[in-house]
Symmetry: C2
C-alpha cells in the first residue's frame, strides 16, 4: 500500500499504520476510529469470559432474548427488530432487499451505502451537504431531488464525517415527503447515542413503514470485534423479505451474550454520555480559539475541522501528528471534502489535551 | 410450531424441543446435532476467556493470521482461502457470485443449497442417490445429467444424511467431466474430518479452478456458536468476485481467536478421530445385529438407518426415544427419504450405549 493512501485509512487498520510508521500499535492514540474511549464494558467482558462454554450451542436463530434487550433499550417493538453481523450486514440486506433502481445518498457519507446500491444494480445520486451552509441539510433542495423515481434515500444521523444532525421534526418532514413519493428512507444511527439531543428516528418507525433505522454497537459500546448491529422497521413485508435472504445465525454467540448485557449496563451508558458531552463542550471551546482552523459544531463523538491556512494540507497535519503517536483521519477522500479537512474523535480528557496541544503546534 | 414438525427440527433447536416435551435442555442427549462429543476444545475456551479485551478491535479485515492457520491445517495456499460466518455464508456467497441458471444438487442433502440457488434466480435439479444402490453415486448417470447447460454441481462429501462418500479418484473424475462442460463444483466437506479415509478434495483445488471446497468448524470443533467456516478455491477471478460482494469482518474476533487456536490443537484433533473411529466401528457392528433395522455404512460421525418393520415410522421412534431424553433426527423430510429413516450421530461411548439400548427396545 502506498504511504499516500494511509491518511485516509479506516480506524481499524492500526496494524498497517503501525507497520508503516514503525510505531508500537498499543502506543497509538487512535482519534480516527470514533470508538468510545471507556472501552468495552466490563459487564460484557465478564459475561463472555464466564460463558465460553456456550460456543458449543448455536445462537437462538430467532435471537428472542437479544431482541428483547434491544426492545427495552430502544423502545421499539421486538417484532420490528432485526439483528445482524454489524450494521454492515443490515445495510447490505436492506439495500439488496429493496434493490433500488435510483437512490439518493446525503453526502459526504460512509462509502458502503453507495457500494451496496451499485452491487444491487442501482445508481445513486450523492446529495451534497454544502460547505457554504455549514453542512446543514437544505430541506427544500432535498425535497426537489426526491421524486417518484427515487426508491431510496440514505441519511446518516448524526452524519459522519460532518457531525451535523437532523431533528425529529425534520426527519418526520422528510418521511412524509418520501411517503408521498413511495421512497424508502434508511437512517444510519451509528453515532446517535453520543448525542445530547433526542434525535433518534426510532419512535417514528411505528408510524412510517417506509423507514428503516440501522444501528451498530461498535462505536458506542466499543466492541467492533463483536460484530453486532440491529435494524428497526415496522413494515412486515420488508422484514419478511429481509429474513428470507438473511443467513441464519449471522450474529455469533458471544455477540449475543454481549448484546444481552451491554444494553442494560446503565452505568456504562451514563458514564459515556457524561464524558463525551463534557469533552465535546471543552474541545469545541478550545478548537474555536485555534489559529487557522474552523471547527464545525457536532452532535457526535467526533469533530470535523477545516484548515484555513491555504499552505497546510490535511495530509501534512496527519504526518505531523503521527510523529506524536496521534492518529487522526485525513477526511480528504470523502466526497465534497477537499484536502483541508480533518476528522478526529473524542477520547479521554488527557488524550484529548495531548491532541489539542499537538494540533495547535502544527497549525502555527 | 406444531409438534408434528418437531421430529425434523435442526439439532440447534434444543430450546424448542425442551419447551414442547417439558425436558430440561441440559438433560437431552443430542444425537441430532452431529456435533463432536468432546465438546469445544479447552484451548479455544482459554484463548477466548483470556482475550475478552480484544473485542475493542476490529478483526483483521484480511484475516491473514487465521487464514495462515487454515493453510497449515489443510495444506491449501493462504491465497486460496476465504473465511466466513459459518460455512453458510460461504455457500451463500459462492452461489450468489456464480449465480447459476441451472444447478444439479446431489440429494438427499442440506436444504440450504437449493434455497441459495433459488434466491439467486436459478433452478436446481435434485440428482437422487438411489436407495437401491445403497445411496452410492452412479457416475455414469451423473455424467449424463451434467451438460454444458449445467452451471453448478453441488456435492456434500461425506454426504449428509446418508454418510456415503466419494473417493478422491471419483472426485477427480467428476471435476474433469465438469471442466469439459464448464460447470463449477461446490463440495461441502463439513463432515470430512471425521472420516478415516483421505477423501478431502482440497489437494485438487490447485489443479481445478472450477472447484470450490467449503468447510465449517461447528461439527468437528464443536463450536456452532462461533460461526466460523472457510472456503478454498484457486480461481482468482472467482475469489475477487466473492470478495467484492462479501461484507467485511463477517467473522467476529472470538471466532478469529478460536480459529487460530483450534486448527493447531493436535491432541483434540487426534482424540476426536480416535473416539469417532472406534465408536463408529462398535456401533455399526451392534446396529447390524438389530431386528427390523438396516444401517448404512458411513464415513461420517452419524448413521442413517432404515426401519424395516412396515408398522414402525421414524416419527414413532423419535417419540419413543425422546421419552428417554434421547433426541435423534427423523430424516423423513429429506428429499427421497420416506418415513422410515432415522439419523443419529456418534456421541461418547456411554451415551451411545444408552441410545443402542433404547433403540433396540423400540424396534422389538
Amino acid at each position: 500500500m502506498k504511504k499516500e493512501a494511509l491518511h485516509t485509512l479506516h480506524g481499524g487498520d492500526l496494524d498497517e499504520i503501525s507497520r508503516i510508521y514503525g510505531i508500537d500499535k498499543n502506543k497509538i492514540l487512535n482519534f480516527s476510529g470514533n470508538v468510545n474511549p471507556l472501552g468495552l464494558p466490563e459487564s460484557v467482558k465478564k459475561a463472555i469470559a464466564e460463558n465460553t462454554d456456550s460456543a458449543i450451542n448455536y445462537p437462538d436463530v430467532a435471537y428472542v432474548s437479544l431482541r428483547d434487550s434491544i426492545a427495552a433499550y430502544t423502545g421499539a417493538d421486538r417484532e420490528h427488530i432485526l439483528v445482524g453481523n454489524g450494521s454492515t450486514e443490515l445495510i447490505s440486506l436492506f439495500i439488496k432487499t429493496i434493490s433500488p433502481k435510483k437512490a439518493v445518498i446525503i453526502s459526504p457519507a460512509y462509502s458502503e451505502y453507495l457500494r451496496e446500491v451499485e452491487i444491487s444494480g442501482g445508481t445513486a445520486e450523492l446529495f451534497p451537504l454544502s460547505e457554504d451552509e455549514g453542512f446543514m441539510l437544505s430541506m427544500d433542495k432535498l425535497k426537489a431531488v426526491i421524486t417518484e423515481e427515487t426508491d431510496l434515500l440514505v441519511i446518516c444521523n448524526p452524519n459522519n464525517p460532518t457531525g451535523t444532525y437532523l431533528t425529529c421534526d425534520r426527519i418526520r418532514d422528510i418521511l412524509m415527503h418520501c411517503q408521498s413519493t413511495d421512497t424508502y428512507v434508511m437512517i444510519d444511527e451509528t453515532y446517535v447515542e453520543f448525542s445530547d439531543k433526542e434525535i433518534s428516528a426510532i419512535p417514528l418507525a411505528k408510524t412510517f413503514g417506509n423507514l428503516f433505522v440501522v444501528r451498530g454497537t461498535s462505536k458506542f459500546f466499543a466492541c467492533p470485534g463483536l460484530r453486532l448491529g440491529y435494524g428497526i422497521c415496522s413494515d412486515s413485508d420488508i422484514l419478511d423479505r429481509i429474513n428470507e435472504r438473511k443467513d441464519p445465525w449471522s450474529v455469533n454467540i458471544f455477540a449475543e451474550i454481549g448484546g444481552r448485557v451491554m444494553f442494560t449496563d446503565k452505568a456504562f451508558i451514563e458514564d459515556t454520555i457524561e464524558l463525551i458531552s463534557s469533552e465535546r463542550k471543552r474541545m469545541y471551546t478550545e478548537l474555536r480559539k485555534f489559529e487557522n482552523l474552523f471547527v464545525y459544531d457536532t452532535q457526535s463523538n467526533f469533530f470535523l475541522c477545516k484548515i484555513l491556512n491555504g499552505k497546510i494540507t490535511s495530509a501534512r497535519i496527519f504526518e505531523e501528528l503521527i510523529k506524536d503517536n496521534i492518529l487522526i483521519r485525513d477526511a480528504s477522500d470523502f466526497p465534497y471534502l477537499g484536502n483541508r479537512y480533518l476528522r478526529f474523535c473524542i477520547l479521554d480528557k488527557k488524550s484529548n489535551t495531548l491532541l489539542l496541544n499537538s494540533l495547535r503546534k502544527c497549525l502555527k
